[in-house]
Symmetry: C2
Subunit: 270 residues, 2 copies
Amino acid sequence: MAKDRKKPKRQGSGRDSPTEAAERSHVMPLASGPDGPGGFGPDDRPGVIVTVDVVLLALRNGELSTLLVKRGREPHQGAWALPGTVVESGEGLVPAATRAVAGRTGVAVEPERLEQLVTFADPDRDPRARVLSVGFVAVVERATPPAGGEVASGRWWAVGDVLVEKGPTMAFDHRDILGAGVEMVAEKFERSDLASGMIEEPFTLGDLRRAYEAVWGTSLEPANFRRKILATPSFVEPTGLLRDVTTGRPAVLYRRGGGVRLHPPLARPD
Amino acid sequence: MAKDRKKPKRQGSGRDSPTEAAERSHVMPLASGPDGPGGFGPDDRPGVIVTVDVVLLALRNGELSTLLVKRGREPHQGAWALPGTVVESGEGLVPAATRAVAGRTGVAVEPERLEQLVTFADPDRDPRARVLSVGFVAVVERATPPAGGEVASGRWWAVGDVLVEKGPTMAFDHRDILGAGVEMVAEKFERSDLASGMIEEPFTLGDLRRAYEAVWGTSLEPANFRRKILATPSFVEPTGLLRDVTTGRPAVLYRRGGGVRLHPPLARPD
DNA sequence: AAAATAGTGTCTGTAAGACATTATCTA
DNA sequence: TAGATAATGTCTTACAGACACTATTTT
């Protein structure tokens, strides 16, 4: 029988009175002076700058690619950075990330596509100040070119060219954020239909398979892949249409299904 | 064939010069005045307070349990909170989380056991100021009672009693952080030997199975569980000893193996 | 016809679910 | 002895890997 999570016995001393350690568990009032050891007043408060940085992933010529921005200013001038922005006061993280992407590509990423990834806050990651970065990842179905004109310092890179010994210099810890984003997406591909968000509708099962192959860096057996996808209810829906081809048998076109959890997961080779 | 991630073609305009949007992708110098639209000077800089909050998980009487702290001050006075602390200037997130736990339990959680979970930064989550919280989760093998004396406002709770309609009032968004922590641990149990970090050495396979059952809230077939664990190299190592029992056949005692990735995962029922 | 890509069928091995049976202890 | 828990064995089913084969198009 399973435990069903009820009735803990009370334990511990049971004292509920305020203590210094209890108060340190959350912030002190801001406008008052020091309030016991560990408190902080208005002048020594550790104000931190919060940024968001977005790993945007799309397929470009069949390759997993990400949008990077060349920095025009120190620190890390000339290095490549993830699109990001400072979070404004009163602004949530997801809106800030949406804004950062929109400023880059002119494309509005739906908030639901932004997945929070990891937060980096090493004290020395920015030499100017304490800067905390919340990383996001978003899979998009088209590698929209960066908005033209004056904001043209962005460029899509093949991920495999970036995450490599002799890859381009990346700003801050953005290489780590990118690596974490790619790995997170690779893992989500195993259990969800996220891959279908990386290709344009309508798509063939070959398109879908190639998205998996690009993200996982492996090849998949087409027949077995097809069997798994079609055996999963509402992963994809047939449109009844066929793709025009220049060679070979025309493939059936599908659109995304209602969203799905893969049980058991689609196994990643290796 | 798999894509092997090479040679993107350059695209986009290729301009690398600084632009407003490029600069907004990271922070402005702090000590200078406003530096174009979107920049910020020393007075309007959005200083954010950063805290860490830790979901500590252990078994207590066979139930998945977590340590909560009763708040002695507004906001949310009297509500239960995760142990946490403000991150000090120059301090990393993991040291801060370690410190928060040590202040609660007197136990030093090894940094490797602290897994970053999710960051909450809703602008309204704390009425006093913009406070960002980075959630951590740590699995420990003993529900060490809170340090006694003056820091005795902490208490272990059965998770099932907390994450329930009529559970205790929780401060801020700590209920969400707790829920995310439990779910993350449940998922890690499928693919890793994390469960063995939740029980004291030496342990029996029954102990290990009950850890899974407590975290997953299900029951597992003992014979099949045993087969899976023992078929996985270096998940556990036999000690050669037997457990003293009051009833039933004595069970073989094991210690943790070298750490492992489960392929395929240990399937969670449902 | 040849080349190319899409799609089907089938065999096999691995591993999980279910559950019966045996082993070893205490009361 | 009964009762309890640990450990083994075995049957069956689900599903993934491998791969042969068929289908439909362009050149």
